[in-house]
């Protein structure tokens, strides 16, 4: 291994998904035998960058050098592996129907011919023993039969096994998210040992203490760029959080006073997360807009679904007064009906009110569609066109119209602004405020901290529990980030 050249050198890497710029010119250098910490808020581009480095996504532009060799022209997952780059992805990559030993074979082309199974066995068992002494994993078990922590351990150990290909860089994307404190410590200790042996690692984690204590250098990403990069010793928890956030600028936030009048004392929803029944509960009043925040995937969507279910069948943990409606953030899978027209997509929640006798009155349905086209300004010449003729933002508007047009008292929103342009967002924000003024309650999960300024209050989620409640004057990026990241690892 050539020690004089950087293990990995990324220059001006850019990547867009449609109109969304995930990476806008990232420069990053990883020295041999160095541990680089990579931090940033949701959607900062960390995972996309790692996919580019692992060869599973192709960058639109920019250059990628591994040990001084320019590989940007033809790079693939197999090529990355041949150059000694291994990645433990955030969403685990084991095949559940294969045993752990068989899963090792998948990443090692050299494991074949007679006796490959015995070799794979030896490799993974030895590595598991080395990294996680006392792991208790049977490598002949199918991956699907292991619990998530064991799967994560197996996948990490797999990334460090060596056959004929060199081991140069290991990327660990949230490796400790399913590990308990003891195994997490084992992993981080092992990681330092490997670094001392000359392997470079990239550690992505939202546990800032882990990153501060175990990395040599820390790079902070924001909006698809590296915005700060220093030795780990030069960061503190506070300066790291500050580097991740924007300079807080006041937006056209509505005066809190004007909204207060609209909120009644009556409670619309009371719920305690099933995942953490002891930590704290959530209360929503009639006419209130309540935000759910925190890092993505920490129980916010589960809370929304719990409330949704609670409206049909109340439970000890959930009490809901009134009808609920759900606006999906993942339009493609949970929101639109692909084959239906815009009008049909808009009216489907209100069909009960559009009936004449047992049948749907076509003219009333068309009237409702026309009405909402005006009110929410869906940009289409004809509501009878297929929903897919609309842009993403306008599809989302149709979903808003579907919900607002229904008789729901409580509207649950699952990060509904994903991929929606700024103009549409502003229109929708206005509409949410108007509807809240009429007594509807909104529970709004958002990954964009700016959007919280439209909420009256917000709950911060971490590991499935509500860890903080922030009032209207506390909804700053700084406070939200502080509450989102665990105090201690």
């Amino acid at each position: 291994m050539d020690v004089s050249k950087p293990a990995v050198e990324l220059t001006a890497i850019a990547k867009s998904f449609g109109a969304v710029r995930a990476l806008s010119g990232v420069d990053l250098i990883l020295e041999p035998g160095e541990c680089l910490g990579l931090v940033g808020h949701n959607g900062a581009g960390k995972s996309t960058l790692m996919h580019v480095l692992a060869g599973t996504l192709k960058a639109d532009s920019g250059s990628l050098k591994i040990a001084g060799e320019d590989v940007s022209q033809a790079f693939s997952a197999a090529g990355a592996s041949a150059h000694g780059i291994r990645c433990v992805f955030q969403e685990l990559s084991l095949c559940p129907n294969l045993t752990i030993a068989e899963n090792v074979r998948i990443v090692h082309r050299a494991l074949k011919g007679f006796g490959w199974k015995a070799k794979a066995h030896g490799l993974i068992r030895q590595k598991l023993d080395e990294i996680f002494p006392g792991h208790g994993i049977d490598v002949d078990q199918e991956a699907g039969d292991l619990n998530i922590g064991q799967r994560q351990m197996a996948e990490i150990a797999r990334a460090f096994t060596i056959t004929d290909e060199p081991l140069r860089v290991v990327i660990l994307d949230e490796p400790t998210s399913s590990l308990d404190a003891v195994t997490a410590k084992q992993l981080l200790t092992f990681m330092r040992q490997e670094v001392a042996r000359g392997v470079s690692t990239i550690l992505i984690s939202h546990l800032l203490a882990d990153v501060l204590d175990h990395c040599d250098r820390i790079a902070v990403m924001k909006d698809g760029k590296v915005v700060a990069e220093r030795r780990a010793g030069q960061f503190t928890r506070n300066s790291l959080v500050a580097a991740m956030g924007t300079t807080v600028e006041k937006k056209n936030t509505p005066a809190a006073g004007s909204r207060k009048a609209a909120i009644s004392a009556a409670r619309a929803v009371e719920a305690t997360p099933q995942t953490a029944p002891k930590a704290g509960n959530l209360v929503v009043h009639k006419g209130e807009i309540v935000g759910l925040a925190g890092l993505a995937g920490h129980g916010q969507t589960r809370m929304l679904i719990q409330i949704f279910d609670g409206a049909r069948k109340s439970s000890a943990l959930t009490r809901v007064e009134g009808k609920v409606a759900f606006i999906a953030g993942d339009r493609q899978s949970d929101g639109i009906f692909n084959l239906w027209s815009i009008g049909e997509n808009t009216t489907v929640s209100s069909l009960e009110d559009l009936k004449r006798g047992p049948l749907i009155a076509a003219e009333r349905e068309a009237e409702m569609a026309r009405d909402w086209k005006e009110r929410i300004q869906i940009r289409t010449p004809d509501m009878n066109n297929n929903i897919l003729t609309l842009s993403g933002g306008n599809q989302q508007k149709a979903l808003f119209a579907r919900t607002l047009g229904s008789k729901a008292d409580i509207v649950l929103m699952d990060d509904p602004m994903r991929g929606v342009d700024v103009g549409t967002k502003l229109e929708v924000y206005d509409m949410i405020r108007q509807e809240a003024g009429r007594g509807r309650s909104f529970i709004w999960y958002t990954t964009e901290i700016d959007e919280l300024s439209h909420c009256d209050r917000a709950y911060i989620f971490r590991d499935g529990a509500i860890v903080a409640e922030l009032g209207p004057d506390e909804l700053t990026e700084d406070k939200v980030l502080h509450a989102s990241f665990a105090e201690s690892a």
Partner: protein, 313 residues
């Protein structure tokens, strides 16, 4: 707790064997004279083509697809085997190779255009049938003598169909369940994204699996006409459902790359026997398909009960 889990797993793995044993003993009970070398040979003679078609289907199910064209495909192979392969062997072999290539091409179409496999294979089934009717408009043709010779092979003690079926299962087991490349094929069914991330081409794997399905479809068709000595375009129409049922009876699952070659072959034997059993029970042919369906439902219900127990632990 571990012992219990193991028990349930073993139980589920043994279920195909139990179902076969039950149907076998029921047949012996209904008609004791079948409990002989000759009786078994007669009852199970069609098990070989069914087992081969079932294995073909299993390859497709391994990569999370479903092949609705295997029956008519076997019929087409039968027609080619009874005409070209008999009259002009070179042309016949070329035609069979072309059929296998078409199967692989079907996989490429399904993968590249992101089409549902059931739609493509359903469409293909009419194509196979159409070609078969063009080749052999009315039942007839002649199977080659070597095919007939192979299929009427006599082995001592254990009837040939049983030996052949177990040999097929063992061969496929080694290839799919224990070989290094078999892991890649099953992994593609289990988690295609993980396979792509490890640098394996899903397109290549799918094409390989469909090509293997084609190969076993060809073997099924040839072994079938080796038994019947002549062919008909519709000779194997029922095989499509037999093959799917056999895989599922044998413990395979529609998605997730969980399949079992031994199970699939046992499932095929069970279905072949169930036909004879129902005849001995004097159930009219009109009701036979329904009765076979009932057997399938019972076995699947048993499996579901075992699985729920597993999930509840």
């Amino acid at each position: 707790m571990d012992a219990l889990v193991l028990n349930r797993k073993t139980l589920r793995a043994l279920l195909p064997l139990f179902s076969l044993a039950i149907v076998l003993f029921a047949t012996f009970y209904a008609q004791p004279r079948t409990m002989s070398y000759f009786g078994l040979n007669l009852m199970l003679q069609y098990a070989v083509p069914i087992a081969l078609a079932t294995v073909a289907q299993m390859f497709v199910i391994t990569v999370n697809d479903l092949d609705l064209s295997i029956g008519p495909f076997v019929g087409l192979i039968g027609c080619i085997g009874a005409t070209y392969l008999h009259d002009t062997p070179l042309l016949g072999i070329a035609a069979l190779v072309a059929c296998i290539a078409l199967y692989a091409a079907m996989a490429a179409l399904i993968y590249l255009r992101n089409l549902p496999s059931i739609v493509v294979t359903l469409g293909a089934s009419f194509v196979w049938l159409g070609i078969a009717v063009l080749i052999l408009p009315s039942p007839g043709g002649k199977a080659s003598d070597w095919l007939k010779a192979i299929m009427s092979l006599q082995v001592p003690v254990v009837p040939f169909p049983i030996v052949a079926a177990l040999a097929i299962a063992a061969l496929v087991h080694v290839g799919l369940m224990t070989s290094a490349y078999g892991v890649i094929m099953r992994g593609t069914g289990g988690n295609p994204r993980a396979m792509a991330r490890a640098g394996w081409s899903e397109l290549k794997t799918k094409m390989a699996m469909y090509a293997l399905a084609g190969v076993f479809g060809v073997l099924s068709g040839l072994s079938l006409i080796g038994l019947t000595t002549s062919a008909d375009a519709h000779i194997a129409d029922r095989y499509t459902l037999y093959a799917i049922a056999g895989v599922i009876l044998g413990g395979g699952e529609f998605v997730g790359g969980r399949v079992s070659p031994f199970g699939a072959v046992l499932g095929a034997l069970t279905l072949a026997l169930a036909g004879s059993f129902l005849i001995f029970m004097r159930i009219s042919p009109d009701w036979q398909i329904g009765a076979q369906g009932a057997i399938l439902i019972i076995v699947l219900a048993l499996r579901a009960i075992i699985s729920t127990g597993e999930a509840r632990r």
